[in-house]
């Protein structure tokens, strides 16, 4: 690699390090800026009956008696050693807690992102190609509907229809509680539990990609090289596939990469409605419980994965779009 490339990556690297440092600081500050004390979650519900000495003991045990700047130094030092600490509420190592939740979230949100992107891109391209047709208008209407539907409400509707009404699918959890399954039965059980949250999340995410693809496709279809291709006598299908879609998908790829970074953050609302044991629900409960270490840990994981996705996008984009390649 020549020095220009090096300079480029060194510059980017410095930028990302700065972002990381800022988020580490914010992760520490934000939870502590919320009103409310974590004491009840350190001690339990009857915290009111403790005397002053016992309260002080509890604060000291969790380092909360220290001045803020010292708490911050401890947090950074631990982080440097790769320690995320223990949950106030659950008393378990945070790395283990996130580790348990992450696979479920990656499965649910990751799969939904892939399906939603594929479906949205296909429908968006078709809609643009047949601009003004009944298909276009219908797709647009449905897309706008799901785009504005609150996830909570949509989840409830699916539960009422496919869970309670028809009885086809389970309505909560990621697996049948307390049943030891193996092989096919296990796969089927997981898939059945995944179906409704996945459908909710996908329905909500399709419109974004669909609308971007449609818009991007429309502008590509107006380009002169499309007219040229048609004039050359290229078949309409090939115009759409080889000339238009490939170029129209560039912004879709960008959005996909950005969303990829957020996969690890889970889907708080959908995970909560369906009692799905993902990172989003962990985060939501940590906010309610003022569980500072869990908040710090999850935010950190999310930040790192967003930055990683950005780096990946930076590196992939030149491959997708020759125009941004640098010499």
């Amino acid at each position: 690699m020549d020095s220009a490339v090096w300079r480029f990556f060194a510059g980017r690297g410095a930028q990302y390090l700065l972002v990381l440092a800022l988020t580490v600081a914010l992760n520490f500050a934000l939870p502590r800026m919320m009103p409310g004390s974590p004491l009840v979650f350190l001690a339990g519900e009857d915290v009111g009956f403790l005397d002053a000495e016992q309260r002080a003991q509890l604060y000291a045990l969790h380092g909360l008696d220290q001045p803020r700047w010292r708490q911050f130094l401890t947090y950074v030092a631990n982080l440097a050693r790769g320690e995320l600490g223990y949950s106030f509420q659950r008393g378990r190592p945070i790395a283990a807690m996130i580790g348990e939740r992450l696979p479920w979230t990656l499965l649910l949100v990751g799969l939904s992102l892939v399906i939603a992107t594929a479906l949205g891109a296909a429908l968006g391209a078709l809609a643009a190609w047949r601009r003004g047709s009944a298909f276009d208008l219908g797709t647009l209407g449905v897309a706008v509907f799901f785009e504005s539907a609150p996830p909570f409400w949509l989840g409830m509707i699916l539960i009422a229809v496919f869970g309670a009404g028809l009885g086809w699918l389970p309505i909560f959890g990621a697996a049948t509680a307390g049943q030891a399954l193996a092989g096919w039965a296990l796969l089927v059980d997981r898939a059945r539990h995944l179906a409704l949250p996945l459908a909710t999340l996908t329905l909500i995410n399709v419109p974004g990609t669909l609308l971007i693809t449609r818009y991007s496709m429309l502008s590509v279809l107006g380009e002169q090289y499309i007219a040229t291709a048609r004039a050359k006598g290229v078949r309409e299908q090939d115009v759409l596939r080889r000339h238009a879609t490939r170029n129209a998908l560039l912004p879709v790829a960008t959005v996909f990469m950005l969303n990829l970074g957020y996969v690890a953050s889970g889907a708080t609302v959908v995970e909560t409605v369906f009692s799905y044991p993902g990172v989003g629900r962990l985060l939501y409960e940590a906010v309610l419980n003022r569980d500072y270490p869990v908040l710090q840990g999850t935010f950190l994981i999310i930040t790192v994965s967003v930055i990683a996705a950005n780096i990946a996008a930076d590196m992939l984009y030149p491959l997708l779009d020759p125009r941004v390649r640098r010499r």
């Binding site: 919320m34 409310g36 009111g48 009956f49 403790l50 539960i159 399954l181």
Partner: protein, 530 residues
């Protein structure tokens, strides 16, 4: 292919099904609303159902019966000295930990000393009075108290679960310790954070055979989803109380049974008694008169509740003083305001104090609780009718606590006007409840969040705490209720009934514990024979 899958699933189901013994229900799925740690004494989370579920695994020496009266459980016989300060307890001789070791007096002594040195918000304060504990042999121990206590039998004896010494000795940070070896009728067989718990009956239980072979506790975060799952048959019951608007539907639904009983949890209008204007008792009386609690019970609870008593105590409690009833009257409210000189002098619809300050207050309420939000809105409307301006501020729990009860420490003061607040059922059951609620010294009035001061109530409260005799406790509580009803530091709005729904075909031997509900030990095992 599909047939093959089905065959495989059914084969697995048959293989995994627990085998109940005669007279025992096979399995039960009961949804709970949140994680309860490792269901051990230092990691369980909620007072209800967390404590109740935890006591299926770890057992206190006594256990409250269906009327909340403590009965011997691990203890077979006990005597109390005439001065009430020496308790001699004899344990059942054949109690075993889930790992097979014997539970002895030594474990009990260890536990009582452990919670003293390893702060637990519930039990560390309860064991303060204990001066010494001596064991003699494997089953006998003697506890000496520094003073007579009104609540010792209920707390800690019927409250603090016994820990196995051989496992907990040397555990320095109990809240990070996730062992679940207890002595109770159930063993924790499996646990998945955020997903479920699975309890299996302890075949070697000293007290007899548990009523259900296996209990699965899936965690279902959302209330609506929980009740949908119950209707759909995906669960057999839930620890969540049924909301009033669902009662009629569930009563009609096939395969479901609904039980209802007194609920000791209160919903109150809490005044900041130190507030420069609200410190006037006449103003508080006027507000209480303007609030139609009867209508509230009809509108918000659809009748499934009891109108609040101004002395705090629930009418079903043995300590309730029936002479302190309160009947609200709007005209009486107007009359009190006029007589006290709260007049709308500037004709803006809001009355002012004699020195010209408008009667304008913030009314805090819990955003996630529709009954409290609607309750606050009703109060706002009714107060507006009599010329008082209450602005409803709905916030989440931690934010409300930060204003009403900063750091959960009454000694740190308060920063609010009025709040729709509430106390859970155990507050009603504590023998010293009215002292905790209303003593002006924040060391004793640990939940006197309004900053109420009345020397007569303080005196009675101190007497109450040092009285073990029920008849005398009752007399003192009668007096206290009268004093509180006159001063109205809080206006008790209502007590919501506990309503629970379950599938009787799965398990029908539920016991409704007064004031609380169906999730308690008695629903799963009968008391041991002496």
């Amino acid at each position: 292919m599909r047939a093959l899958v089905l065959v495989l699933i059914s084969a697995l189901l048959v293989l995994c099904a627990p085998v109940p013994s005669p007279g025992q229900a096979a399995s039960l799925r009961m949804a709970i609303g949140r994680d309860e740690g490792s269901l051990n004494p230092y990691t369980y989370q909620s007072g209800y159902p967390g404590w109740n579920l935890m006591t299926l695994i770890y057992e206190p020496l006594f256990a409250p019966d269906a009327d909340n009266i403590p009965r011997p459980w691990l203890v077979r016989r006990y005597t109390v000295s005439p001065d009430g300060r020496t308790w001699t307890l004899a344990l059942h001789p054949n109690i075993r930990w889930h790992d097979g070791r014997l539970l002895t007096a030594d474990d009990v002594k260890f536990t009582y000393e452990y919670v003293r040195s390893h702060t637990h918000s519930r039990w560390t304060p309860q064991v303060r009075l204990i001066e010494s504990i001596e064991t003699s042999g494997a089953t006998t121990l003697v506890m000496r108290l520094s003073a007579q206590s009104g609540g010792f039998l209920m707390q800690p004896l019927a409250d603090l679960p016994i820990l196995p010494r051989h496992i907990w000795e040397g555990v320095a940070e109990p809240r990070r310790f996730n062992d679940s070896t207890g002595s109770g009728p159930y063993r924790l067989a499996e646990m998945r954070d955020g997903q479920f718990y699975r309890l299996v009956a302890n075949d070697a239980y000293f007290g007899g055979k548990p009523k259900v072979r296996e209990i699965t506790l899936p965690i279902v975060r959302d209330a609506t989803v929980t009740f949908t799952a119950l209707r759909a048959g995906e669960i057999d019951t839930t620890s969540r109380a049924l909301s009033p608007e669902l009662v009629a539907e569930f009563e009609k639904a096939g395969g479901l049974k609904v039980v209802r009983g007194a609920g000791y949890a209160s919903t109150i209008l809490q005044f900041n008694v130190e507030h420069p204007i609200l410190k006037d008792v006449r103003l508080r009386q006027a507000i209480a008169n303007a609030v139609n609690t009867r209508l509230m019970v009809r509108l918000l609870l659809l009748g499934y509740g009891v109108v609040g008593s101004p002395g705090y105590i629930h009418p079903d409690s043995p300590f309730y003083n029936p002479s302190v009833a309160f009947a609200a009257s709007k005209s009486r409210a107007v009359q009190i305001l006029n007589e006290a000189g709260y007049i709308d002098r500037d004709r803006d619809g809001i009355r002012e104090t004699p020195d010209g300050r408008p009667l304008r207050f913030n009314l805090l309420t819990l955003a996630g609780n529709p009954i409290r939000v609607r309750g606050a809105d009703l109060i706002r409307t009714w107060l507006r009718d009599v010329g008082i301006d209450a602005r409803v501020v709905a916030q989440e729990d931690a934010s409300i606590i930060a204003q009403v009860w900063p750091d959960f420490d009454v000694c740190k003061g308060r920063n609010f006007d009025m709040a729709v607040f509430g106390w859970s059922a155990p507050v009603m059951n504590r023998a010293t409840n009215l002292r905790d609620l209303f003593h002006s010294d924040c060391r004793y009035g640990t939940i006197n969040i309004g900053g109420y001061k009345n020397s007569e109530v303080d005196r009675l409260g101190n007497e109450l705490a040092a009285t073990a005799e029920p008849a005398r406790q009752k007399r003192i509580l009668y007096e206290m209720q009268k004093a509180i009803a006159a001063d109205l530091p809080v206006h008790v709005l209502f007590y919501q009934d506990g309503i629970y729904a379950y599938r009787p075909e799965r398990h029908d031997a539920w016991v409704y514990q007064k004031g609380q509900g169906i999730v308690n030990k008695l629903s799963f095992v009968d008391p041991p024979r002496r």
